[in-house]
């Protein structure tokens, strides 16, 4: 399975959840397959999906899923100790680890070579770290949501991309409808 197939498999689970989605192809694929006001698409700033997701989870009650990539986590490695030391049980970090920088032409990342993001997350002090095969992502994600505990999921999948259009929504529109959705859930 490649990333777009992993995303497709989890859409029934994430469609009604607050989702912060990584820059580039992951956001473009999610936008194409299941655009929702509850999705926050990153149009710039590689590496900050997990940080935005954690800040959002700490600031309000609803569950938050941050979809990240192996390359992006490597770019913002400092995020893992921050997550480990600021536990938000409404936060799930889903790292789709295809061992490559997918959006830039599938150059290999160190996560696809000798570096285990699962081991790194554990060494940083994260308590619930689950590594899974791509096929099991939906099951593992549902279990993490049901556990009501902050969870880091490292989904190992194959490298590869589908052709998707860029997102032409204005950033302020993405933010505005997302914030209205967040507020409605916390008022309810």
């Amino acid at each position: 399975m490649i990333r777009s197939e992993v995303l497709k498999s989890i859409i029934p689970i994430i469609t009604d959840k607050l989702v912060v989605c990584n820059i580039g192809l992951p956001s473009q694929e999610l936008h194409l397959m299941d655009d929702q006001p509850s999705n926050f698409y990153m149009l710039g700033t590689m590496g900050l999906s997990s940080s935005i997701g954690l800040g959002l989870a700490l600031a309000q009650k609803d569950k938050v899923i941050a979809i990240d990539g192996d390359g992006s986590v490597l770019t913002n490695f400092g995020t893992l100790p921050t997550i480990a030391n600021n536990v938000a049980d409404n936060f799930i970090l889903l790292i789709i680890d295809n061992g490559s920088y997918g959006s830039t032409g599938d150059q290999p990342t160190y996560a696809g070579l000798r570096t285990s993001l699962t081991a790194v997350a554990e060494a940083c002090g994260c308590e619930n770290v689950v590594e899974c095969k791509a096929e099991d992502t939906a099951t593992v994600l549902q279990q993490a949501l049901d556990s009501n505990q902050m969870t880091i999921i490292v989904c190992k999948c194959e490298s590869g991309n589908i052709t998707v259009p860029v997102i032409d929504m204005d950033p302020v529109v993405i933010k505005h409808r997302f914030m209205q959705e967040v507020q409605a859930r916390n008022d309810g």
Binding site: T45, G47, L48, S51, I52, G53, L56, T82, V172, K175
Partner: protein, 165 residues
């Protein structure tokens, strides 16, 4: 009231509930004061761009946020300021220690000091410079301006300011 207490009181009075910090010697007192406050969630970050991501998330979650950092961080965060904070119109007060100004003992700090205001001007970031102790009286208005305009705002605090405080 001490200047550290005054800064934190202004943050609280303006509804700031989420503060991330990367430490600087000049900022040690205000970071301690943030830590002592029950109404602010203090989340130290490992790098300032990470901190801006945390603030952006908290802001979208309905909590006003702020970052406390050194001016060297302007070099680290330009892409994040432009493609996240400015692009999505996220208000972000940045309380910045302005190292490398008069009274600076560490020569290397002057290297970023000479670029700090030029970089902020290039980014069209509203910038305020606290030099005399009384300059802190403007903080309340600066915070109100920041949240009204939904822009990042830089408050540079130099060694003379902290010495006089």
């Amino acid at each position: 009231m001490s200047v550290n207490k005054k800064i934190v009181t202004d943050l609280i009075d303006n509804g700031v509930e989420f503060v991330t910090t990367v430490p600087c010697k000049q900022l040690a007192g205000v970071i301690d004061e943030i830590d002592r406050s029950d109404s602010i969630y203090h989340i130290p970050s490992n790098k300032e761009d990470e901190g801006m991501g945390l603030c952006a998330g908290a802001s979208m979650g309905g909590k006003r946020s702020a970052i406390i950092m050194q001016n060297t961080a302007i070099g680290v965060t330009i892409n994040t300021l432009v493609t996240l904070i400015q692009y999505y119109h996220i208000p972000l007060p940045m309380l910045i220690s302005y190292r490398g100004e008069l009274g600076e003992p560490v020569a290397c700090q002057t290297e970023m000091a000479v670029h700090t205001k030029a970089l902020l001007a290039q980014l069209s970031i509203p910038t305020y410079h606290f030099h005399a102790a009384a300059d802190v009286d403007e903080l309340d208005a600066i915070l109100k301006y920041c949240f009204m305009s939904k822009k990042p705002v830089a408050i540079l605090t130099d060694a003379s300011f902290w010495k006089g405080a």
